[in-house]
């Protein structure tokens, strides 16, 4: 199916097979993977995706129709993982088969941008605390190296 919300792993190979099965001189596939993020004192090990399924599927199908019309796409994929997705795994795949590269790139860009901002899907970080080495206390009267501002 062009539109998919699933708890199962997504693969680029499967998306490519689907996109290459239809006529068109250009195939563009984009995959978004979960990346490690060490901000805010935690190490992300996974993202947990949540969806409001009925309006999400309706919106994905509307995006599919719009992309076929606007970019002349003969095939599309709009796939998103749900539930827990670990660092390194693919969370989202969009792709388009179009007559030429410009339309194919534009279609893929349109799909991922719209998906991120208009489809009711949310993510929450799952992580573990980062272990930091204990701070060394500076002895009175001794400035520790690297303290203070650079000149």
């Amino acid at each position: 199916m062009a539109v998919r919300l699933t708890r199962r792993p997504l693969t680029l190979a499967e998306a490519e097979r689907r996109l290459r099965a239809r006529p068109g001189g250009a195939v563009v596939v984009f995959a978004g993977r979960v990346r490690r993020d060490r901000r805010r004192g935690s190490s992300v090990v996974a993202l947990e995706y949540e969806v409001d399924r009925v309006p999400a599927l309706a919106r994905l199908r509307a995006l599919e129709r719009a992309a076929r019309r606007r970019f002349g796409a003969s095939e599309l994929v709009l796939w998103h993982r749900l539930g827990r997705v670990r660092v390194g795994e693919v969370a989202v795949v969009v792709g388009a088969t179009c007559p030429h590269r410009v339309e194919a790139f534009d279609a893929a860009r349109y799909l991922i941008d719209e998906l991120k901002t208009t489809v009711p899907i949310w993510k929450e970080e799952r992580g573990r605390p980062v272990r930091r080495p204990p701070r060394r206390r500076a002895r009175p009267g001794v400035r520790s190296a690297g303290s203070g501002r650079a000149p």
Binding site: G32, D52, P55, H80
Partner: protein, 85 residues
């Protein structure tokens, strides 16, 4: 027929309330979406900032404005800003 709407909360809205679903009583004359949002803000002050940036749906359809009247048995969904991908 229950005399309540089923409020469905997602993401930060769910975290602010601590529940994904809330039954909310509906008076005889019905309940405007605006009244429900105000009542939720009052009942759950931590939810207020999220409500200000959220979209609302009645029975899986986006509300055009908050003057729509909710009826018993309706579902009312609170959608904080989306974050897929």
């Amino acid at each position: 027929m229950p005399r309540s709407v089923r409020v469905r909360l997602f993401a930060t809205a769910r975290l602010a309330v601590g529940r994904a679903v809330l039954p909310w009583p509906v008076p005889e004359h019905g309940l405007r979406a605006r009244e429900l949002v105000a009542a939720l803000e009052q009942a759950y002050p931590r939810l207020a900032p999220t409500l200000r940036g959220s979209r609302f749906l009645r029975n899986d359809r986006y509300l055009r404005d908050l003057d729509e009247t909710l009826r018993p048995g309706d579902e009312f969904a609170v959608h904080p800003p989306y974050g897929g991908g």
